[in-house]
Amino acid sequence: MLSDTTQELSITLEDAQTTTESNEMPVVVPQGIKAKIFPPERLSLDSFINFPLPSYASAGSNGDLTQYFVTLPPDLTTMTAIMDVLQTLPLPPPSVIKQLSSQAASAWQNGSRSLVYAHANDPCRFAFWVLSFWRGVSELRTNQMGWRAAQRFLSQPAFHHDDSEAIAFTAHMSTLPWSDRIMVRGFGDWVLVQDLRQFASRDWLNNSHLNVMLGVMYDKIKAIDPAVELRYKVQNTFFCAQLCAAYAARATYAESRSVVRDAGIDAPHTICFISHVRGNHWTGIAIDSVNLHIYYSDSLQAPIPDDLKTGLVDSWIRAKSECREMAHVTG
């Protein structure tokens, strides 16, 4: 069902509003502060893990949110004074940061113009960007904890019979910049270096993780058999979801946006992709475009869900007939 929601974005706003002169709530942490307190962008992952950051106050610290918001303007104006407090005082507990963030806009509208470290009983008043600072540091600390867990995972005895992969992973951690992103060549996706830690854990994997794996595997196969591209076309993990969405909206879906036809159904090859089923499971599908054979692989050996099967078959038959019609017209 389509909605008629329309939103006109005002994109001409400048990114940074670091002064309190305007009526805009200041949310951008001044660059000078970020440069001094946040880890350098080119720092390697293993150095990032141990980079010193402000700690959290204990969970039992001041939970009265009204004491954080103050109607008076910020009173710390010099960089030295601001840095001194930001570097020495602990952050509010994560739950308090989350609640303060959700209340910030209404507090600003109601006349608040600064925040204090109420959990530390410190009276210094900061501009509202201090909330962004707390969130930013909190996110960095979460990433640090995640990577420390990854390090523990890599040192587990389970790897001792063959620890070559753990060694290779650790070696990459000493060279990859923590803030980088990695493009997944040929699969139209990218992943943050920070999110690679799931590969050193028992955590479940998302679309982009799977695309990373597909990219690595496909490159390895192509190195052995360059002609594989002529026989198999591998799609990213978004393909199946787009296919299913196109099938669900088949009554209104524009012919020009046919996901199936764009994948090259008229070419004599097998299209391979990964599907997400039952809300939490990845399975493999390969479709022989010439003979219309659909191969389905599930590590749990469950049959292909009916709605997926129907959508695939219907989409392919429709796209094939479109191709035939177009060939007939153009021929």
Binding site: M1, L2, S3, D4, T5, T6, Q7, E8, L9, I11, T12, R181, G188, D189, W190, R202, D203, W204, L205, N206, N207, S208, Q235, N236, T237, F238, F239, A241, Q242, C244, A245, A248, A249, T252, R257, V259, D262, H276, N280, H281, W282, S299, L300
Partner: protein
């Protein structure tokens, strides 16, 4: 020289204005819901992504924005992706899967 050049096309200022003229972009969810945005050609699409995420109440990192089947990069703009007026961005919620032994 100047006169000849000026007859070949719009002035530099006019070119700049045209290059950065706003276009309409439709963001379509996997359930078919549509949200329309007007965005300048040189504005990063990350702004559109943030606004869309706020509108639907989701964390932007849990959403994938796709143009022609490829995930939009943080620095991409309508201009860099050669988008045209009334183009569509597909959006889908990140999927997670695995198996517990």
């Amino acid at each position: 020289m100047t006169e000849v050049d000026s007859t070949l096309g719009p002035s530099q200022n006019e070119v700049k204005t045209e290059e950065n003229a706003p276009i309409n972009v439709k963001v379509v969810s996997s359930t078919g819901d549509e949200v329309f945005f007007k965005i300048k050609r040189n504005t990063k699409l990350s702004k559109l992504q943030g606004a869309y995420a706020a509108k639907v109440g989701k964390d932007v990192s849990s959403i994938r924005f796709l143009y022609d089947g490829n995930r939009i990069n943080e620095d991409d703009t309508p201009s860099s992706l050669e988008m045209e007026d009334n183009d569509t961005i597909d959006v889908m919620v990140e999927q997670v899967g695995g198996w517990a032994p």
